[in-house]
Symmetry: C2
Subunit: 204 residues, 2 copies
């Protein structure tokens, strides 16, 4: 216990950590990723630059941590036994998140920067996006075992069939992004993924 | 005929016009939309600023014209009678275009800028994207009349079910964007959109 932090110091560290992550998300929304500096983050968070460098080696790592904290981590999808209900819950939650200014503004900034910066794009996808796609694939695998999704379905394509139309509408603003749209996308995607109906018309 | 341009002057105008559009696409790819200036375009194209202002009121109108010229205009989809064949031809062509550096670099720049600039985004969608979605909807309408797509399908959702997964993979670089992926997306989307099979199992 001799080298453990004192309670006061630990509490101060926790507060600084949170202040830095909050400052990063705000500033990415305001000025974009490219123009973001460690100086600006330190000033906004009310900490010294050395405090930031103690925890993060560079800006990219810090921004991804800040977005991961904003997104609140990835949980397994619910499994009520009805894959349609579970996917609609997730896609509706995604719609709500994408339309919430606190999340939307910095997310658009990071998406924009990713177009011009393939290294950031790969970290962005690996850290923030792929875990969400993976838990969705896991839920679809469970639906395959339950006979609600065909065995032969390519699950990498299936998850993009679900999330692709959502992001298409969000990124390109082709039309308002609503919960009803999320529900329709799930209905259409599941119609594509369901097992062939038995020739007799009765369940086996 | 008295106020018609002389042939030499008309030829020179045509050359300047093409040089300006080419310069715009190059420069958007190199510096992005936000930092693009009429001065830089004039210098690259070898024309005077007044020549540019004679034809385009502002940068936004010019950039959209340049991208419309790059995309080569929107034609109706082929109608071979087989909607799967026709959609695969279009989605494969989209994949090829999105992966071609001459098109990819400025398109990513414009997509990035659109995230931060809703006015540009709306012009971008209305001028460049929506016409492509509309001709695809028209082909799906013809497939509805032919009984290959269910009558009740929401065609606005259907086109995003086709193009959404393509753009999702391109924008977020979740995996390589290939012709095979385009084919699979069409197969899945059409499985979602097809009419309910007759209960007897034989075509009516």
């Amino acid at each position: 216990m001799s080298d453990a932090k004192k309670p006061d110091e630990s509490r101060r560290s926790g507060r600084s950590h949170q202040a830095i992550l909050k400052a990063v998300v705000e500033l990415v929304g305001e000025m974009g990723y490219a123009r973001l500096t460690i100086e600006a983050i330190a000033a906004r968070a009310g900490v010294g630059k050395q405090t930031i460098y103690r925890w993060w080696p560079h800006k990219g790592a810090l921004v991804l941590d800040a977005f991961a904290a904003l997104a609140g981590g990835v949980a397994a999808l619910p499994d009520t036994g009805d894959v349609s209900v579970d996917l609609k819950a997730v896609l509706r939650a995604t719609v709500v998140e994408l339309c919430e200014p606190r999340f939307e503004v910095p997310s658009r900034a990071l998406t924009a920067e990713s177009q011009m910066d393939p290294v950031l794009a790969k970290q962005f996808v690996d850290t923030l996006l792929r875990p969400n796609l993976e838990v969705t694939k896991e839920r679809l695998r469970s639906a395959q075992r339950a006979g609600q999704v065909a065995r032969g379905v390519d699950l990498d394509v299936a998850v993009e069939l679900l999330f692709g139309p959502l992001f298409h509408r969000w990124l390109l603003r082709t039309a308002p992004l609503t919960r009803e749209y999320a529900d329709t996308v799930v209905d259409y995607a599941l119609a594509a993924l369901r097992p062939p109906s038995p020739s007799s018309g009765s369940a086996g």
